[in-house]
Amino acid sequence: MKIKENHKTVPETALSVRNIHKSFGDEEVLKGISFDANSGDVISIIGSSGSGKSTLLRCINFLERPDSGEVAVAGEVIRTHRAKDGLQYPSDKHQLKQMRARLGMVFQNFNLWAHRTVLENIIEGPVQVLKHSRKKAVAEAEIFMDKVGITQKRDQYPSQLSGGQQQRVAIARALAMHPTVMLFDEPTSALDPELVSEVVQVIRQLAVEKRTMIMVTHEMALAREISSHLIFLHNGRIEEQGPPDVIMENPKSDRLRQFVGKF
Protein backbone atom coordinates (compact mmCIF):
# COMPACT_ATOMS: atom_id res chain seq x y z
CA MET A 1 0.00 0.00 0.00
CA LYS A 2 1.68 3.17 -1.20
CA ILE A 3 1.23 6.47 0.63
CA LYS A 4 0.22 9.39 -1.59
CA GLU A 5 3.27 11.46 -2.47
CA ASN A 6 3.63 15.09 -3.47
CA HIS A 7 4.25 14.45 -7.13
CA LYS A 8 2.40 12.25 -9.60
CA THR A 9 4.92 9.59 -10.50
CA VAL A 10 7.84 8.57 -8.36
CA PRO A 11 10.85 7.74 -10.47
CA GLU A 12 12.57 4.56 -9.39
CA THR A 13 15.62 6.26 -7.90
CA ALA A 14 14.24 8.19 -4.97
CA LEU A 15 17.66 9.34 -3.76
CA SER A 16 21.01 9.33 -5.50
CA VAL A 17 24.25 10.24 -3.76
CA ARG A 18 27.43 10.54 -5.83
CA ASN A 19 31.01 10.83 -4.67
CA ILE A 20 30.47 12.86 -1.50
CA HIS A 21 33.66 14.22 0.05
CA LYS A 22 33.72 16.18 3.30
CA SER A 23 36.62 17.40 5.41
CA PHE A 24 36.62 19.18 8.75
CA GLY A 25 39.82 21.19 8.72
CA ASP A 26 42.61 18.77 7.86
CA GLU A 27 40.64 15.68 8.57
CA GLU A 28 38.78 14.07 5.68
CA VAL A 29 35.67 12.49 7.15
CA LEU A 30 33.94 11.34 3.97
CA LYS A 31 36.18 10.04 1.22
CA GLY A 32 33.89 9.64 -1.75
CA ILE A 33 30.57 8.05 -0.83
CA SER A 34 28.11 6.96 -3.52
CA PHE A 35 24.90 5.02 -3.25
CA ASP A 36 21.35 4.92 -4.56
CA ALA A 37 18.05 4.44 -2.82
CA ASN A 38 15.15 3.14 -4.85
CA SER A 39 11.59 3.92 -3.96
CA GLY A 40 10.60 1.71 -1.04
CA ASP A 41 14.18 0.91 0.02
CA VAL A 42 15.17 1.06 3.65
CA ILE A 43 18.89 1.67 3.89
CA SER A 44 20.61 1.52 7.25
CA ILE A 45 24.02 3.09 7.59
CA ILE A 46 26.05 1.39 10.28
CA GLY A 47 29.59 1.71 11.56
CA SER A 48 31.58 2.70 14.59
CA SER A 49 31.61 6.23 16.00
CA GLY A 50 33.64 8.61 13.92
CA SER A 51 33.09 6.65 10.72
CA GLY A 52 31.19 9.62 9.28
CA LYS A 53 27.66 8.20 9.38
CA SER A 54 25.89 11.28 10.72
CA THR A 55 27.96 13.61 8.58
CA LEU A 56 26.91 11.68 5.49
CA LEU A 57 23.26 11.92 6.40
CA ARG A 58 23.53 15.64 7.13
CA CYS A 59 25.25 16.18 3.78
CA ILE A 60 22.23 14.80 1.98
CA ASN A 61 20.01 17.69 3.03
CA PHE A 62 22.94 20.10 3.12
CA LEU A 63 22.88 20.69 6.87
CA GLU A 64 26.57 20.01 6.33
CA ARG A 65 27.94 21.29 3.06
CA PRO A 66 29.69 18.56 1.02
CA ASP A 67 33.10 19.63 -0.26
CA SER A 68 32.36 17.85 -3.52
CA GLY A 69 29.84 15.40 -4.82
CA GLU A 70 26.24 15.40 -5.87
CA VAL A 71 22.85 14.71 -4.31
CA ALA A 72 19.75 14.05 -6.38
CA VAL A 73 16.21 13.60 -5.08
CA ALA A 74 13.74 11.84 -7.41
CA GLY A 75 16.02 12.55 -10.32
CA GLU A 76 16.51 16.25 -9.60
CA VAL A 77 20.06 17.26 -8.71
CA ILE A 78 20.65 19.86 -6.00
CA ARG A 79 22.45 22.58 -7.95
CA THR A 80 25.83 23.70 -6.68
CA HIS A 81 28.65 25.87 -7.94
CA ARG A 82 32.24 26.43 -6.99
CA ALA A 83 32.82 29.88 -5.48
CA LYS A 84 35.91 32.10 -5.51
CA ASP A 85 37.25 30.51 -2.35
CA GLY A 86 37.35 27.16 -4.11
CA LEU A 87 34.55 25.67 -2.04
CA GLN A 88 31.30 24.23 -3.30
CA TYR A 89 28.07 26.00 -2.39
CA PRO A 90 24.40 25.37 -3.24
CA SER A 91 23.38 27.65 -6.10
CA ASP A 92 19.66 27.99 -5.77
CA LYS A 93 18.23 28.77 -2.35
CA HIS A 94 14.71 28.21 -3.56
CA GLN A 95 15.51 24.80 -4.99
CA LEU A 96 17.39 23.82 -1.85
CA LYS A 97 14.38 24.76 0.23
CA GLN A 98 12.12 22.61 -1.93
CA MET A 99 14.55 19.71 -1.83
CA ARG A 100 14.72 19.90 1.94
CA ALA A 101 10.95 19.78 2.08
CA ARG A 102 11.12 16.48 0.24
CA LEU A 103 13.67 15.06 2.68
CA GLY A 104 12.05 14.51 6.04
CA MET A 105 14.66 14.49 8.79
CA VAL A 106 14.30 13.01 12.26
CA PHE A 107 17.04 14.10 14.67
CA GLN A 108 18.76 12.25 17.49
CA ASN A 109 17.74 15.01 19.89
CA PHE A 110 14.21 15.39 18.45
CA ASN A 111 14.60 19.18 18.03
CA LEU A 112 10.90 19.83 18.45
CA TRP A 113 10.10 23.54 18.60
CA ALA A 114 9.91 24.21 22.29
CA HIS A 115 7.42 27.06 22.07
CA ARG A 116 4.84 25.15 20.03
CA THR A 117 2.44 22.41 21.06
CA VAL A 118 2.56 18.95 19.53
CA LEU A 119 -0.12 19.83 16.99
CA GLU A 120 1.52 23.14 16.16
CA ASN A 121 4.86 21.40 15.63
CA ILE A 122 3.34 19.05 13.12
CA ILE A 123 1.46 21.67 11.09
CA GLU A 124 4.27 24.24 11.09
CA GLY A 125 6.06 22.77 8.06
CA PRO A 126 2.97 22.14 5.88
CA VAL A 127 1.56 25.61 6.56
CA GLN A 128 4.77 27.63 6.35
CA VAL A 129 6.71 25.75 3.69
CA LEU A 130 4.17 23.77 1.68
CA LYS A 131 1.69 26.62 1.97
CA HIS A 132 -1.18 24.32 2.86
CA SER A 133 -4.23 25.83 4.51
CA ARG A 134 -4.31 25.44 8.27
CA LYS A 135 -7.48 23.40 8.01
CA LYS A 136 -5.90 20.91 5.66
CA ALA A 137 -2.75 20.73 7.71
CA VAL A 138 -4.67 20.02 10.91
CA ALA A 139 -6.78 17.33 9.23
CA GLU A 140 -3.66 15.57 7.99
CA ALA A 141 -1.91 16.07 11.31
CA GLU A 142 -4.72 14.12 12.98
CA ILE A 143 -3.87 11.15 10.77
CA PHE A 144 -0.17 11.31 11.54
CA MET A 145 -0.69 11.81 15.27
CA ASP A 146 -2.89 8.76 15.27
CA LYS A 147 -0.31 6.84 13.31
CA VAL A 148 2.44 7.46 15.86
CA GLY A 149 0.05 7.17 18.78
CA ILE A 150 0.37 10.67 20.22
CA THR A 151 -3.13 12.09 19.68
CA GLN A 152 -3.96 12.57 23.37
CA LYS A 153 -0.92 14.82 23.75
CA ARG A 154 -1.78 17.17 20.90
CA ASP A 155 -2.08 20.30 23.03
CA GLN A 156 0.91 19.65 25.24
CA TYR A 157 4.34 21.15 24.94
CA PRO A 158 7.48 19.11 24.21
CA SER A 159 8.80 19.77 27.71
CA GLN A 160 5.79 17.88 29.08
CA LEU A 161 6.49 14.75 27.06
CA SER A 162 8.88 11.86 27.56
CA GLY A 163 11.76 11.31 25.14
CA GLY A 164 9.95 8.53 23.34
CA GLN A 165 6.83 10.66 22.95
CA GLN A 166 8.88 13.59 21.65
CA GLN A 167 10.60 11.43 19.05
CA ARG A 168 7.28 10.09 17.86
CA VAL A 169 6.04 13.66 17.43
CA ALA A 170 9.23 14.38 15.48
CA ILE A 171 8.46 11.47 13.18
CA ALA A 172 4.90 12.72 12.66
CA ARG A 173 6.30 16.17 11.93
CA ALA A 174 8.57 14.74 9.24
CA LEU A 175 5.75 12.65 7.79
CA ALA A 176 3.48 15.69 7.55
CA MET A 177 5.73 17.09 4.83
CA HIS A 178 4.95 14.11 2.57
CA PRO A 179 8.63 13.53 2.00
CA THR A 180 10.07 11.49 -0.83
CA VAL A 181 12.77 10.13 1.44
CA MET A 182 12.99 10.08 5.23
CA LEU A 183 16.32 10.58 6.96
CA PHE A 184 16.79 9.24 10.49
CA ASP A 185 19.86 10.41 12.40
CA GLU A 186 20.31 7.89 15.23
CA PRO A 187 16.65 8.20 16.21
CA THR A 188 16.87 6.07 19.34
CA SER A 189 20.34 6.96 20.64
CA ALA A 190 19.12 9.68 22.99
CA LEU A 191 16.36 7.58 24.52
CA ASP A 192 16.26 5.66 27.76
CA PRO A 193 16.12 1.91 27.04
CA GLU A 194 12.47 1.53 28.10
CA LEU A 195 11.42 4.19 25.61
CA VAL A 196 13.27 2.80 22.60
CA SER A 197 10.66 0.20 21.70
CA GLU A 198 7.80 2.65 21.20
CA VAL A 199 9.84 4.52 18.61
CA VAL A 200 11.14 1.34 16.99
CA GLN A 201 7.56 0.20 16.58
CA VAL A 202 6.68 3.34 14.61
CA ILE A 203 9.76 3.02 12.41
CA ARG A 204 8.99 -0.61 11.76
CA GLN A 205 5.48 0.32 10.63
CA LEU A 206 6.87 2.92 8.25
CA ALA A 207 9.13 0.27 6.69
CA VAL A 208 6.15 -2.04 6.23
CA GLU A 209 4.43 0.80 4.35
CA LYS A 210 7.35 0.82 1.96
CA ARG A 211 8.53 4.32 2.75
CA THR A 212 11.95 5.20 1.40
CA MET A 213 14.14 5.61 4.49
CA ILE A 214 17.82 6.22 5.14
CA MET A 215 18.65 5.47 8.76
CA VAL A 216 21.84 5.96 10.70
CA THR A 217 21.53 3.72 13.73
CA HIS A 218 23.17 1.64 16.44
CA GLU A 219 20.09 -0.56 16.74
CA MET A 220 21.48 -3.60 14.91
CA ALA A 221 18.40 -5.72 15.47
CA LEU A 222 16.13 -3.09 13.96
CA ALA A 223 18.55 -2.48 11.08
CA ARG A 224 18.72 -6.13 10.30
CA GLU A 225 14.96 -6.59 10.53
CA ILE A 226 13.64 -3.79 8.36
CA SER A 227 16.46 -2.83 6.01
CA SER A 228 16.51 -3.79 2.38
CA HIS A 229 20.14 -2.76 2.31
CA LEU A 230 22.95 -2.15 4.79
CA ILE A 231 25.85 0.20 4.24
CA PHE A 232 28.84 -0.34 6.51
CA LEU A 233 30.92 2.81 6.77
CA HIS A 234 34.47 2.74 8.04
CA ASN A 235 36.91 5.65 8.09
CA GLY A 236 34.81 7.62 5.65
CA ARG A 237 34.46 4.90 3.02
CA ILE A 238 31.86 2.30 2.23
CA GLU A 239 33.64 -0.80 3.44
CA GLU A 240 30.87 -3.19 2.53
CA GLN A 241 27.22 -3.05 1.53
CA GLY A 242 24.42 -5.42 0.70
CA PRO A 243 21.25 -7.04 2.00
CA PRO A 244 21.46 -7.44 5.77
CA ASP A 245 21.21 -11.20 5.90
CA VAL A 246 23.97 -11.62 3.36
CA ILE A 247 26.56 -9.28 4.73
CA MET A 248 25.92 -9.97 8.38
CA GLU A 249 26.05 -13.74 8.05
CA ASN A 250 29.05 -13.67 5.76
CA PRO A 251 30.90 -10.43 6.23
CA LYS A 252 33.62 -10.12 3.59
CA SER A 253 35.68 -7.47 5.33
CA ASP A 254 37.50 -8.12 8.60
CA ARG A 255 36.32 -4.93 10.14
CA LEU A 256 32.70 -5.69 9.49
CA ARG A 257 33.23 -9.09 10.97
CA GLN A 258 34.64 -7.44 14.08
CA PHE A 259 31.80 -4.96 14.16
CA VAL A 260 29.11 -7.59 13.78
CA GLY A 261 30.82 -9.83 16.24
CA LYS A 262 30.10 -7.30 18.91
CA PHE A 263 26.40 -7.88 18.55
Binding site: L63, K97, F107, F110, H115, G125, V129, Q160
Partner: protein
Amino acid sequence: MIQFFNNVVSWLPELLAATPLTLTLTLVAGICGLVFGTLLALARLSDSLVLSMPAGIFMFVMRGTPLLVQLYLIYYGLGQILPGTWVRHSFLWPYLRDGFSYAVIALSMNQAAYNGEVLRGAIRSVPKGQIEASVAIGMTSFQVLTRVRLPLAFRDCLPVLTSDIIILLKSTALVSTITVLELMGTARMIQRESLQIYEPLIACGLVYFAVVIVLTNIMRPIESRLTRFRRGNT
Protein backbone atom coordinates in the same frame (compact mmCIF):
# COMPACT_ATOMS: atom_id res chain seq x y z
CA MET B 1 1.75 65.20 62.11
CA ILE B 2 -1.88 64.96 61.06
CA GLN B 3 -1.38 68.13 59.06
CA PHE B 4 1.50 66.50 57.26
CA PHE B 5 -0.59 63.49 56.41
CA ASN B 6 -3.46 65.66 55.20
CA ASN B 7 -1.12 67.65 53.01
CA VAL B 8 0.26 64.53 51.43
CA VAL B 9 -3.19 63.22 50.64
CA SER B 10 -4.33 66.55 49.28
CA TRP B 11 -1.82 66.41 46.46
CA LEU B 12 -2.83 62.95 45.32
CA PRO B 13 -5.62 63.93 42.89
CA GLU B 14 -3.38 66.33 41.03
CA LEU B 15 -0.60 63.77 40.88
CA LEU B 16 -2.89 60.98 39.75
CA ALA B 17 -4.05 63.23 36.93
CA ALA B 18 -0.47 63.45 35.73
CA THR B 19 0.05 59.69 35.87
CA PRO B 20 -1.40 58.91 32.42
CA LEU B 21 1.35 61.01 30.88
CA THR B 22 3.97 58.95 32.70
CA LEU B 23 2.30 55.78 31.51
CA THR B 24 2.12 57.04 27.95
CA LEU B 25 5.82 57.85 27.97
CA THR B 26 6.55 54.38 29.32
CA LEU B 27 4.34 52.65 26.78
CA VAL B 28 5.60 54.52 23.74
CA ALA B 29 9.26 54.34 24.70
CA GLY B 30 8.81 50.73 25.74
CA ILE B 31 7.39 49.64 22.41
CA CYS B 32 9.83 51.71 20.36
CA GLY B 33 12.62 50.36 22.51
CA LEU B 34 11.58 46.77 21.85
CA VAL B 35 11.21 47.23 18.11
CA PHE B 36 14.44 49.16 17.62
CA GLY B 37 16.17 46.99 20.16
CA THR B 38 15.37 43.91 18.08
CA LEU B 39 16.70 45.61 14.96
CA LEU B 40 19.82 46.66 16.83
CA ALA B 41 20.36 43.14 18.14
CA LEU B 42 20.01 41.67 14.65
CA ALA B 43 22.36 44.30 13.26
CA ARG B 44 24.87 43.58 15.99
CA LEU B 45 24.72 39.86 15.25
CA SER B 46 25.01 40.29 11.51
CA ASP B 47 28.15 39.32 9.66
CA SER B 48 28.27 42.61 7.81
CA LEU B 49 30.55 45.15 9.52
CA VAL B 50 28.54 47.98 8.03
CA LEU B 51 25.63 46.87 10.20
CA SER B 52 27.27 45.50 13.30
CA MET B 53 29.72 48.31 13.99
CA PRO B 54 27.35 51.31 14.06
CA ALA B 55 24.91 49.25 16.09
CA GLY B 56 27.67 48.34 18.52
CA ILE B 57 28.85 51.92 18.88
CA PHE B 58 25.31 53.19 19.37
CA MET B 59 24.62 50.62 22.05
CA PHE B 60 27.91 51.31 23.83
CA VAL B 61 27.38 55.06 23.88
CA MET B 62 23.74 54.88 24.99
CA ARG B 63 24.52 52.43 27.76
CA GLY B 64 27.73 54.15 28.80
CA THR B 65 26.34 57.63 29.40
CA PRO B 66 23.72 58.78 31.91
CA LEU B 67 20.17 59.07 30.61
CA LEU B 68 20.05 62.59 32.02
CA VAL B 69 22.96 63.64 29.81
CA GLN B 70 21.25 62.07 26.80
CA LEU B 71 18.06 63.94 27.62
CA TYR B 72 19.83 67.28 27.85
CA LEU B 73 21.82 66.60 24.72
CA ILE B 74 18.70 65.83 22.73
CA TYR B 75 16.48 68.51 24.19
CA TYR B 76 18.92 71.40 24.24
CA GLY B 77 21.06 70.09 21.43
CA LEU B 78 18.26 69.56 18.96
CA GLY B 79 16.74 72.75 20.28
CA GLN B 80 19.91 74.50 19.20
CA ILE B 81 20.19 72.89 15.79
CA LEU B 82 16.65 72.39 14.55
CA PRO B 83 15.45 76.01 14.38
CA GLY B 84 18.12 76.66 11.77
CA THR B 85 16.87 73.90 9.52
CA TRP B 86 13.92 73.07 7.32
CA VAL B 87 12.22 71.42 10.26
CA ARG B 88 11.34 74.83 11.65
CA HIS B 89 8.87 75.39 8.89
CA SER B 90 7.55 71.87 8.59
CA PHE B 91 4.52 70.17 9.99
CA LEU B 92 6.73 68.60 12.65
CA TRP B 93 7.48 71.85 14.42
CA PRO B 94 4.45 72.02 16.74
CA TYR B 95 5.44 68.61 18.06
CA LEU B 96 8.96 69.75 18.69
CA ARG B 97 8.07 72.79 20.71
CA ASP B 98 7.63 71.13 24.06
CA GLY B 99 9.69 68.55 25.81
CA PHE B 100 7.44 65.55 25.23
CA SER B 101 8.76 64.54 21.80
CA TYR B 102 12.36 64.95 22.87
CA ALA B 103 11.64 62.89 25.94
CA VAL B 104 10.17 60.10 23.84
CA ILE B 105 13.11 60.16 21.45
CA ALA B 106 15.72 60.03 24.20
CA LEU B 107 13.89 57.38 26.24
CA SER B 108 13.29 55.19 23.19
CA MET B 109 16.90 55.32 22.09
CA ASN B 110 18.13 54.51 25.56
CA GLN B 111 15.67 51.68 26.00
CA ALA B 112 16.51 50.30 22.55
CA ALA B 113 20.18 50.07 23.48
CA TYR B 114 19.51 48.15 26.69
CA ASN B 115 16.90 45.90 25.11
CA GLY B 116 19.22 45.30 22.17
CA GLU B 117 21.97 44.03 24.43
CA VAL B 118 19.66 41.62 26.20
CA LEU B 119 18.10 40.38 22.96
CA ARG B 120 21.49 39.92 21.36
CA GLY B 121 22.44 37.40 23.99
CA ALA B 122 19.08 35.68 23.84
CA ILE B 123 19.00 35.36 20.04
CA ARG B 124 22.51 33.98 20.07
CA SER B 125 21.68 31.33 22.59
CA VAL B 126 18.67 29.79 20.90
CA PRO B 127 19.47 26.05 20.84
CA LYS B 128 21.03 25.09 17.55
CA GLY B 129 18.76 22.06 17.24
CA GLN B 130 15.64 24.18 16.98
CA ILE B 131 17.15 26.07 14.07
CA GLU B 132 18.39 22.90 12.38
CA ALA B 133 14.92 21.42 12.49
CA SER B 134 13.54 24.55 10.85
CA VAL B 135 16.20 24.55 8.15
CA ALA B 136 15.78 20.83 7.54
CA ILE B 137 12.08 21.22 6.97
CA GLY B 138 12.71 23.79 4.26
CA MET B 139 11.96 27.12 5.89
CA THR B 140 13.53 30.26 4.44
CA SER B 141 15.97 32.24 6.57
CA PHE B 142 13.31 34.85 7.15
CA GLN B 143 10.86 32.22 8.35
CA VAL B 144 13.45 30.71 10.64
CA LEU B 145 14.09 34.14 12.10
CA THR B 146 10.51 35.21 12.62
CA ARG B 147 8.93 31.90 13.52
CA VAL B 148 11.62 30.28 15.62
CA ARG B 149 14.59 32.44 16.62
CA LEU B 150 12.80 35.63 17.65
CA PRO B 151 9.89 33.95 19.52
CA LEU B 152 12.27 31.74 21.46
CA ALA B 153 14.71 34.58 22.13
CA PHE B 154 11.95 36.84 23.44
CA ARG B 155 10.57 34.21 25.74
CA ASP B 156 14.04 33.45 27.00
CA CYS B 157 14.74 37.01 28.14
CA LEU B 158 11.19 37.98 29.08
CA PRO B 159 11.92 38.38 32.82
CA VAL B 160 14.74 40.80 32.04
CA LEU B 161 12.60 42.69 29.52
CA THR B 162 9.77 43.13 32.01
CA SER B 163 12.09 44.41 34.71
CA ASP B 164 13.52 46.78 32.09
CA ILE B 165 10.01 48.20 31.60
CA ILE B 166 9.84 48.94 35.31
CA ILE B 167 13.21 50.65 35.10
CA LEU B 168 11.91 52.65 32.14
CA LEU B 169 8.91 53.74 34.17
CA LYS B 170 11.22 55.04 36.86
CA SER B 171 13.43 56.77 34.30
CA THR B 172 10.49 58.78 33.01
CA ALA B 173 10.86 60.83 36.18
CA LEU B 174 13.98 62.37 34.70
CA VAL B 175 12.08 64.05 31.91
CA SER B 176 10.69 66.42 34.53
CA THR B 177 13.97 68.27 34.06
CA ILE B 178 13.06 69.15 30.49
CA THR B 179 9.73 70.75 31.29
CA VAL B 180 7.52 67.71 30.79
CA LEU B 181 4.74 67.75 33.38
CA GLU B 182 4.45 64.06 34.08
CA LEU B 183 4.21 62.69 37.60
CA MET B 184 7.58 63.87 38.91
CA GLY B 185 7.38 67.17 37.10
CA THR B 186 3.98 67.89 38.60
CA ALA B 187 5.32 67.09 42.07
CA ARG B 188 8.20 69.51 41.61
CA MET B 189 5.81 72.17 40.39
CA ILE B 190 3.64 71.66 43.47
CA GLN B 191 6.78 72.01 45.59
CA ARG B 192 7.57 75.37 44.04
CA GLU B 193 4.02 76.70 44.24
CA SER B 194 3.04 75.47 47.70
CA LEU B 195 6.50 75.86 49.29
CA GLN B 196 6.01 72.46 50.89
CA ILE B 197 9.13 70.42 50.45
CA TYR B 198 8.30 66.91 51.61
CA GLU B 199 4.58 66.44 51.19
CA PRO B 200 4.49 66.56 47.39
CA LEU B 201 7.50 64.26 47.16
CA ILE B 202 6.03 61.72 49.56
CA ALA B 203 2.71 61.79 47.71
CA CYS B 204 4.60 61.38 44.44
CA GLY B 205 6.45 58.42 45.92
CA LEU B 206 3.19 56.78 46.94
CA VAL B 207 1.83 57.05 43.41
CA TYR B 208 5.01 55.65 41.84
CA PHE B 209 5.02 52.81 44.34
CA ALA B 210 1.41 51.95 43.55
CA VAL B 211 1.99 52.09 39.79
CA VAL B 212 5.04 49.85 40.03
CA ILE B 213 3.17 47.29 42.13
CA VAL B 214 0.23 47.26 39.73
CA LEU B 215 2.45 47.00 36.67
CA THR B 216 4.52 44.17 38.15
CA ASN B 217 1.40 42.25 38.97
CA ILE B 218 -0.03 42.71 35.51
CA MET B 219 3.11 41.49 33.85
CA ARG B 220 3.69 38.44 35.98
CA PRO B 221 0.78 36.35 34.64
CA ILE B 222 1.64 37.38 31.08
CA GLU B 223 5.22 36.31 31.65
CA SER B 224 3.98 33.06 33.14
CA ARG B 225 1.73 32.31 30.22
CA LEU B 226 4.36 33.00 27.57
CA THR B 227 6.92 30.77 29.22
CA ARG B 228 4.68 27.86 30.18
CA PHE B 229 6.21 25.73 27.44
CA ARG B 230 9.41 25.65 29.46
CA ARG B 231 8.15 24.30 32.66
CA GLY B 232 7.02 20.79 31.75
CA ASN B 233 4.92 18.66 34.01
CA THR B 234 5.13 19.09 37.75
